[in-house]
């Protein structure tokens, strides 16, 4: 069964996404949240590549690790973390293009059903085109009701 790493600028957000995803997976999937940067003044928004690397190693399984990140430097941190992994481990990691929350929910459930790394990632990335609110087609005349 694959594992999942949640990377967010906010530690709270990463843990919240883990909470939701964990319920979808009925606690069967290893899901590791990572986020925020610490200095002497406390925790701030941001991502630390070495913390992401540690999260990947904590989550590690030979079946693979799917990394879901929020955006921007979270992706860069994940990419940097992968560069520090041995090539054989790096090959079994994917950084997903999925939206963080929706992707994590779907990935956790699919992973709990035993999906492969690529199958789980494909399902997670499918959430990117999910329609949440069905809206009527816009009026071609441009007027609003």
């Amino acid at each position: 069964m694959i594992a999942i790493v949640i990377v967010s600028h906010s530690r709270c957000l990463a843990e919240g996404v883990r909470e939701v995803a964990d319920q979808m997976a009925s606690g069967q999937v290893t899901i590791v949240p990572v986020g925020g940067v610490q200095d002497q003044e406390g925790t701030h928004l941001g991502t630390d590549p070495m913390a992401v690397l540690q999260a990947i190693q904590d989550a590690w399984t030979p079946d693979g690790v799917l990394i879901l990140a929020d955006l921007g430097s979270a992706i860069l941190s994940a990419e940097t973390a992968l560069e520090f992994l041995p090539p054989e481990q790096r090959r079994r990691c994917r950084i997903s293009n999925a939206p963080l929350v929706e992707g994590a929910i779907v990935a956790a459930l699919e992973a709990s059903l035993g999906g492969s790394l690529d199958a789980v990632n494909a399902a997670a990335e499918g959430t990117g085109s999910l329609v949440k609110v069905a809206r009527p087609h816009p009026d071609p005349r441009g007027s609003t009701p």
């Binding site: 979808m24 929910i105 459930l109 059903l113 999910l130 329609v131 809206r135």
Partner: protein
């Protein structure tokens, strides 16, 4: 808005060991994520191909084994969902799925 793709191949009444039943969403908040999870987990225990169609929204059929597709059913309280299963264990699969929609203390609706 584009409709979800039907499962391929699409189950139909003409196929072998195909059966269907219609259930009604009872939950006040509609078919929410936890119920979707239960459907996917249950459907994946069976070999049968299982499709769900929202009869009241004319959405589907979608694959009952995919949470992504189930979330596109837009199923609210009172909506009728048609479950169509095809395969060697189609009947027990529908029995198990119908249980999810049965109100607490009530038996699943008959086939």
């Amino acid at each position: 808005m584009s409709r979800p793709r039907p499962p391929h191949p699409q189950p139909g009444p003409e196929g072998p060991a195909s059966c269907s039943r219609t259930v009604t969403v009872q939950e006040p908040m509609g078919l929410h994520l936890r119920t979707g999870k239960a459907i996917v987990q249950t459907a994946n225990r069976f070999q049968a191909r299982i499709a769900i169609r929202n009869l009241d929204q004319d959405v589907g059929p979608v694959d009952a084994k995919s949470i992504l597709q189930i979330m596109q059913l837009q199923a609210r309280q009172g909506h009728r969902l048609e479950l169509v299963a095809q395969g060697p264990d189609a009947r027990p699969a529908l029995e198990a799925l119908a249980q999810i929609f049965a109100q607490p203390g009530e038996p699943a609706p008959p086939s």
